[in-house]
């Protein structure tokens, strides 16, 4: 029986909650996303739990739909960065030689430009649509996954048990999937959590800068952008997404930490 520490339990609960809210948004949200249902920046009330936004839409509903967009984009980007990064990373580590050199140097080059700057440069010439946004985010982030996957796989690849498998005559597929992958899984899963958080923060930042999700659709970053002018009048509507982003990020972080610790202690075994 696995004992789950309270911190991880907290993380699992909130992560689960956010994903459920994202999936069932149309059933949970009290109002539609775009309908103007009240005055501008109404305070919290029983009708509008967390008030209304800059043009009188229900903020809670917008937050729920916005969370759906944010989580969807971040999840898709993470899936892309993971599949691309880990497949290429493993391949580079196991095959080695010039393929490894070529891929690794290319990744070095991409990573020598800050991600945000790179994204801004690319988005200045590409139409900002959801698929392009996801693709740009996923591919840029896959460089980080590639580095980790390659480093982990290189470490495992020189272990005697992998050599034993090669000596036995096992093929590359067996070596990657049966010998290396099971041992690389825990750092990769933990990294997946961190990449997901990064994607959430990144897409929020892009939307805030006006280069992410385009109106009337909105994600959490976009909601900040819409309501930021209220700040100087003492209206905190723009800070609501901060709470959402922070709790989601912290929850996923706690789960990732737990996954990493649990599996490393299992691997350590008896000293």
């Amino acid at each position: 029986m696995i004992r789950i520490p309270p911190a991880a339990l907290f993380g699992l609960f909130f992560t689960g909650l956010y994903f459920l809210m994202a999936i069932f948004a149309p059933w949970i949200a009290p109002y539609s996303m775009t309908e103007v249902v009240g005055g501008v920046w109404e305070p919290w009330s029983s009708k509008h739990w967390i008030g209304t936004d800059n043009i009188g839409r229900d903020l809670l509903s917008r937050m729920i739909y916005g969370g759906r967009t944010t989580i969807f984009i971040a999840t898709m980007a993470t899936i892309i960065s993971f599949t691309t990064g880990s497949i290429l990373g493993f391949t580079a580590a196991v095959i080695g030689g010039w393929i490894d050199q070529l891929l690794s140097r290319f990744v070095d080059l991409i990573m020598s430009i800050p991600t945000l700057i790179f994204a801004l440069v690319v988005l200045s010439v590409m139409p900002v649509t959801l698929p392009i946004l996801i693709l740009v985010m996923g591919l840029l982030d896959s460089t980080r996954v590639y580095r980790l996957a390659r480093a982990v796989a290189v470490d495992i690849n020189v272990m005697d048990f992998v050599e034993a498998a090669k000596l036995r005559g096992e093929g590359r597929i067996w070596v990657i999937f049966r010998e290396i992958l099971p041992n690389a899984l825990s750092p990769l899963v933990a990294e997946m959590g961190l990449r997901f958080i990064f994607a959430v923060l990144f897409v929020s930042t892009l939307s805030f800068l006006g280069l992410g999700v385009q109106p009337p659709n909105a994600d959490w970053g976009g909601i900040v952008k819409e309501n930021k002018d209220g700040i100087v009048y003492g209206i905190p509507a723009a800070l609501v997404p901060a709470v959402a982003i922070a709790t989601l990020a912290i929850s996923v972080n706690l789960v990732a930490d737990w996954v990493l610790n649990r599996t490393t202690s299992l691997k350590g075994g008896r000293g």
């Binding site: 430009i113 790179f118 010439v125 590409m126 800068l209 970053g221 100087v232 800070l239 982003i245």
Partner: protein, 318 residues
């Protein structure tokens, strides 16, 4: 040539090569990507004549390679081209903005670097006790909120509710240093918070790594005091990793500046870049992107150079 000199030369050459490749990548990224630049500037409804005009203006009819070399040649001479939207010379508009950005980043670094190293040391000193746990909890919280939101949180509570600092950071040459510092108080605070967390975490890890070495145990078994152990044995071996941490985080700071400038409408390069990305003003984006990337590359290069210089095995070969 001694080995470490050779490594230094190699590292600097690599940095220059990287700069060249990055310039190609940025040029290529803005010119050869699918989607016609002219089209994306003018939108789907543009007339063919307007498209042709803008293509000619951008020099899009010439081969990409010769355009690249023209651009690069201009860069080397300090000519960054002209902005499409305003028709102004980019280099002259950038000059004061770059100065402002560096001003902001400088003050953030001046506060964040010593503070991070101090707190990192504190976390090591009280490892696994409450100061360490508090520091790591705050760290976790602050890396879980995007920079721009930290900005608005501070703006709301410190700027609006408490009224301690201006919520908009307008500066110009006429202001005294004190006035300028007052104006940038909030953005500096945000940037400090953003890099502090990372820098502290990494400093803590770097020092812990050194403190767990066998030679620290040897020093303890020599009966040396804690201060002597840290000063004579831990510090000489920690300089390289700490400088590394600082450089990586300064590079990070440069990126954080972009967002923070937008939040506080600060007249720096970041805001200039973001503005022109929305306007699809490609020459400005190229110039700003390259400058940001160059700062980032140079800082990373400095980190590596310090590591090479601080390695006793390389400094004193067999």
């Amino acid at each position: 040539m001694p080995l470490f000199l050779k490594l230094l030369v190699q590292r600097i050459a690599l940095g220059l090569l990287l700069l060249l490749l990055v310039s190609m990548l940025i040029f290529w990224g803005t010119n050869i990507l699918p989607g016609d630049v002219a089209q994306s500037i003018l939108g789907q409804s543009a007339t063919p004549e307007a498209l042709a005009n803008i293509r000619a203006e951008l020099g899009l009819n010439e081969p990409a390679l010769s355009r690249y070399f023209d651009w690069l040649g201009g860069l080397v001479q300090g000519d960054l081209g002209t902005a499409l939207t305003s028709g102004k010379d980019i280099a002259s508009s950038l000059g004061s903005r770059l100065k402002n950005t560096l001003f902001l980043a400088f003050w953030a670094a001046v506060i964040a670097v010593p503070l991070a190293i101090f707190l990192g040391l504190l976390a090591v000193r009280y490892r696994e006790r409450w100061p360490d746990k508090l520091i790591s909890a705050v760290t976790l919280a602050s890396i879980s909120v995007p920079e721009f939101l930290i900005g608005y949180i501070l703006m709301y509570f410190v700027g609006v509710k408490l009224g301690w600092a201006p919520t908009v950071s307008m500066i110009h040459d006429g202001l005294s240093l004190g006035q300028k510092l007052n104006a940038i108080a909030l953005p500096v605070a945000v940037l400090t918070m953003v890099v502090l967390a990372h820098m502290m975490r990494m400093t803590r890890a770097a020092i812990l790594n050194v403190m767990q070495s066998a030679y620290i145990e040897t020093a303890e078994l020599k009966g040396l005091t804690m201060f002597t152990i840290i000063w004579r044995h831990a510090l000489p071996n920690s300089i390289a990793p700490i400088v590394n941490v600082v450089m990586i985080n300064l590079a990070y700071l440069v990126v954080g500046v972009v967002v923070v400038e937008v939040v506080f409408t600060y007249p720096g390069m970041g805001q200039y870049l973001v503005d022109h990305v929305s306007k699809r003003d490609v020459p400005v984006v190229q110039a700003c992107g390259l400058i940001f990337a160059a700062v980032y590359i140079v800082l990373n290069m400095v980190a590596d150079i310090v590591s090479i210089l601080a390695n006793p095995r390389l400094r004193h070969p067999k």
